[in-house]
C-alpha cells in the first residue's frame, strides 16, 4: 500500500503498475447517477379535517403531466391497517412506491396473526417521516406531501409530512393549493386545538365538499371527481368516490383581462 | 460591502412620553467591522425639530446639510417655525425624489408641535414612506434589537426623567448586541420649553 500522504491507501505504483483512475467509475454502465429534481406526473391537493368522532380526508382523482390531464381516475387515498388513511399529493410514481411500501408494511404486520392491532396512524406517520427524511438526506427525495388520518388513543389524529421530512399536526390540514384555498374554509370550523369536539360529521363533511368545490374552481390542476375517506371508531374506514355538486359558474363571465376577450 | 445601509452602522430610536419626546442614537462610525469614530452624532436639530439619520454616512452628512438648506429657506419664506409634521413631509418628499437611486438612510423625526406642544415622532424607509407611531420608532442596523427591547420596556405617559431612563436602557442594550452600532450614545429629551442633551457611556467593543 502507498504510504505517501498524498496517495495514502492506494496500491503502490512500483509494485502494481500505474494506478488506474477509471476504477473510480466502477459500475455496470456508463450512465451517471440520477436523482429526482422535479416531480413529473403529479396529484394536487389533499385536504383533511377532524370532527367530534373522527377524521375526513379528501383528494381528487386527477394525475397531471404538467398542464396535461394525463390520468383522470387515480385514487390518492389509501387505507393502511384498519383505522388509518394516507392521502398523498405530489409525484404519482413516488406515491405508488410509497403505496407499495405501506402495503408491504401491513402484510408483514399480519404475518404474526397474533391479534396485535397492526400499524396505527401515529406509527404510520412516524414511519413515513423517517422514510421521507431519509430520502431527503440522501439528496434523493420522494416528491410528495402526505396527510395521515386516523386515531391516537381513541382521539382523532391528523398529521402532515412532506418531501423534506417536515411534519406537523393540526385540527385541519391541506397540501399544495389546499393550503391557500381550503385551509381558510376549514379553519372556520376548527381553528384551535380541541375545536373539533364541537364539530359534527355533517358540518365537517359540508366544509370538505365546499373546499373541494373551491379547489375545482380555482386550482388549474384539480378536477371535479374526488375520493372522500371518513374514519370513525364505530365504522372504521369508508372511502367513497363523489363529484362536486351545486356548482355555480356565474362568476366565470366576470373574469376579464386575459386571452382573446375584448373589454 | 454589498448593502450600503450596513457599511457604516448605527442605530436610532425615538419615544413619546407625557408632554415630551425623546430621541437617541449611538455614536459609532465604522467601515464594516472596523470602528473609525466614536463621536459621529446622527441627530440633527432644526429649530426645535429633531432628525436622526442612520445608514450610509455620506448620505447622512449630505442629507443633514440639504435639510438645513431647505429648512432655512422654508422659515425665511414662511416667517414661522417648521412643525415636526412639516419636517416629516419634507424628508419624505426629498427621499422620494430619489426613488430610483435612493439615499441609503433610515431617518426619524421627533419634536413637539410649536403651538399645541403635542408630541410627534415618525420613521421612514429609504425612499420616504412615513411610518407614524404613538409609542416608539426605531431605525438602523440594530432595529431588530431595538424593536424587541422597546416592546418590553416602553410604557405610555412617562415623565421626562423616566423617559430618559427608558430610552437610554433600550438604546444601550440594543446596540450592545449589534456589532455595527455602539461606541457611546446621545439622548435628547424634548420638553415644551426645555431640551436636555446627555451623552451615554457604553461598552467600547
Amino acid at each position: 500500500m502507498e504510504h505517501h500522504q498524498a496517495n495514502w491507501g492506494r496500491p503502490r505504483n512500483d509494485v502494481y503498475g500505474e494506478y488506474d483512475f477509471a476504477i473510480h467509475n466502477a459500475g455496470s454502465h456508463d450512465e451517471p447517477t440520477t436523482r429526482t429534481l422535479q416531480p413529473t406526473v403529479t396529484g394536487s391537493s389533499v385536504i383533511g379535517i377532524k370532527f367530534d368522532k373522527g377524521v375526513i380526508l379528501a383528494a381528487d382523482t386527477l394525475a397531471s403531466y404538467g398542464s396535461l390531464r394525463r390520468f383522470v381516475d387515480e385514487q390518492r387515498l389509501f387505507q393502511v391497517g384498519d383505522q388509518t388513511v394516507v392521502g398523498i399529493s405530489g409525484d404519482v410514481s413516488d406515491m405508488q412506491n410509497i403505496q407499495d411500501t405501506l402495503d408491504q408494511l401491513e402484510i408483514e404486520a399480519n404475518y404474526d396473526a397474533d391479534g396485535y392491532p397492526g400499524p396505527t396512524a401515529p406509527s404510520i406517520h412516524m414511519y413515513l417521516r423517517r422514510l421521507l427524511y431519509y430520502q431527503r438526506s440522501r439528496m434523493d427525495p420522494l416528491w410528495n406531501s402526505i396527510l395521515v388520518a386516523g386515531f391516537k388513543n381513541d382521539e382523532p389524529y391528523l398529521a402532515y409530512v412532506d418531501l423534506l421530512g417536515v411534519t406537523y399536526q393540526s385540527g385541519c390540514l391541506a397540501t399544495g393549493f389546499g393550503n391557500y384555498l381550503a385551509i381558510p374554509l376549514l379553519r372556520k370550523l376548527v381553528d384551535n386545538d380541541g375545536d373539533e369536539k364541537n364539530v359534527t360529521y355533517e358540518q365537517a363533511r359540508k366544509a370538505i365538499e365546499e373546499a373541494m368545490k373551491v379547489l375545482f374552481y380555482r386550482d388549474g390542476r384539480a378536477t371535479d371527481t374526488y375520493h372522500v375517506a371518513v374514519i370513525t371508531k364505530e365504522a372504521g374506514v369508508q372511502i367513497e368516490k363523489t363529484k362536486c355538486e351545486n356548482m355555480s359558474w356565474k362568476f366565470a363571465s366576470q373574469i376579464k383581462g386575459f386571452g382573446t376577450q375584448k373589454e | 460591502m454589498s448593502n450600503p445601509s450596513e457599511i457604516n452602522g448605527g442605530a436610532a430610536v425615538a419615544m413619546v412620553g407625557k408632554d415630551c419626546v425623546a430621541i437617541a442614537s449611538d455614536l459609532r462610525l465604522g467601515l464594516q467591522s472596523v470602528g473609525i469614530s466614536g463621536d459621529f452624532e446622527k441627530i440633527f436639530e432644526y429649530n426645535g425639530v429633531y432628525l436622526a439619520l442612520t445608514g450610509l454616512a455620506t448620505d447622512v452628512q449630505t442629507l443633514s446639510i440639504d435639510f438645513r438648506k431647505k429648512h432655512s429657506l422654508y422659515e425665511l419664506r414662511e416667517e414661522r417655525r417648521m412643525e415636526p409634521q412639516t419636517m416629516a413631509n419634507l424628508v419624505s418628499s426629498t427621499l422620494y425624489s430619489k426613488r430610483f437611486g435612493p439615499y441609503f438612510v433610515g431617518p426619524l423625526v421627533a419634536g413637539l408641535n410649536s403651538s399645541t406642544s403635542k408630541p410627534y415622532i415618525c420613521s421612514f424607509d429609504s425612499i420616504g414612506c412615513i411610518e407614524h407611531a404613538n409609542d416608539f420608532v426605531v431605525v438602523g442596523t440594530a432595529s431588530d434589537q431595538l424593536y424587541g427591547i422597546c416592546e418590553s420596556l416602553y410604557e405610555p405617559n412617562l415623565e421626562p426623567e423616566d423617559l430618559f431612563e427608558t430610552i437610554s436602557q433600550a438604546l444601550m442594550s440594543a446596540v450592545d448586541r449589534d456589532a455595527l452600532s455602539g461606541w457611546g450614545g446621545v439622548v435628547y429629551i424634548i420638553e415644551k420649553d426645555k431640551v436636555t442633551k446627555r451623552y451615554l457611556k457604553t461598552r467600547q467593543d
Partner: protein, 225 residues
C-alpha cells in the same frame, strides 16, 4: 457553461422562538407553539419543548425536519446511556453528547440552534446553548429562533442587568439570582413583544419550569395574527 440543478434539502419550515433562563434552583424553557412555512401558518399547536429524559428539556430551534431528527437523536442517546451505564445522565454530560451529535454532521449540518435546560448535580438551574455544528457554552439565559434578536437584548438588560447602575452609588448593578415569579413575568413580557413584531411568533406560549422534582408546563395565549 453547464446548467446546474440541485435539490435543496433545507426548507424554511420552523417553530417560532424559544427562550431559557437559569435560576438558583430552577430553570425555565419557554417557546411559542406556532409552526410556519414562509407566510403560511401550518399549525397553531406544535410544541417546541421536548422532554428527553432525566429531567432534561431541549428546544431545537431551526429547520423543523432536522429539529425532529435531532431531538430523536438526543432522546436515543440518553436511552442508550441508561442501558450502558445504568445511571442518570448529568446535564453537563448531555451537553457534551449533544456537541458530538451536532459535530458528527459537520459537513451536512442539522440546521438547528439548540438550547438544553435542566438542573446540575449541585442543584443549580442550568442553560446550555449550541450552534448548528456543536459549539456550546453554559449561560444564565439564552434566546433562539426567529425572534432571538428581539429577545436577547431584553434578557441582557433584565437578567444580567447589563447597563444598569445603582442610583445611589453609580456602580453597576450586580447580577443576582432571579426569583421564579420575576423570571416568569420576564418571559411573558418578552414573548408578548416578540409576537408583536415577528410574524413567525404567536398563538400560544408554553412555559416549562424545571426543578429537581421534574418539570411542569403552563400555557398562555399570544396574538394569533
Amino acid at each position: 457553461m453547464p446548467i446546474e440543478h440541485s435539490f435543496n434539502p433545507y426548507g424554511d419550515s420552523s417553530g417560532g422562538s424559544t427562550l431559557a433562563i437559569a435560576g438558583k434552583d430552577f430553570a425555565i424553557l419557554a417557546g411559542d407553539t406556532r409552526h410556519s412555512t414562509g407566510y403560511s401558518i401550518d399549525s397553531r399547536n406544535e410544541s417546541q419543548i421536548h422532554s428527553v429524559g432525566d429531567g432534561l428539556l431541549v428546544s431545537p430551534n431551526g429547520f423543523s425536519a432536522d429539529a425532529r431528527a435531532f431531538v430523536d437523536d438526543v432522546h436515543n442517546d440518553i436511552i442508550w446511556y441508561h442501558h450502558k451505564h445504568n445511571k442518570k445522565l448529568a446535564i453537563s454530560s448531555c451537553a457534551r453528547s449533544i456537541m458530538h451529535t451536532l459535530y458528527r454532521r459537520r459537513f451536512f449540518p442539522y440546521y438547528v440552534s439548540p438550547i438544553l435546560v435542566g438542573i446540575e448535580p449541585d442543584g443549580t438551574g442550568a442553560v446550555y446553548s449550541f450552534d448548528p455544528v456543536g459549539s456550546y457554552e453554559r449561560e444564565a439565559s439564552r434566546a433562539a429562533g426567529h425572534a432571538s434578536e428581539l429577545l436577547v437584548p431584553f434578557l441582557d438588560n433584565q437578567v444580567r442587568k447589563a447597563n444598569q447602575v445603582d442610583p445611589e452609588t453609580g456602580k453597576p448593578l450586580a447580577q443576582h439570582d432571579l426569583d421564579l415569579e420575576t423570571a416568569l413575568q420576564l418571559v411573558k413580557d418578552a414573548f408578548a413583544g416578540a409576537a408583536e413584531r415577528r410574524i413567525q411568533v404567536g398563538d400560544w406560549l408554553e412555559i416549562a419550569v424545571v426543578t429537581k422534582d421534574g418539570h411542569k408546563v403552563e400555557r398562555y395565549p399570544l396574538r394569533r395574527d
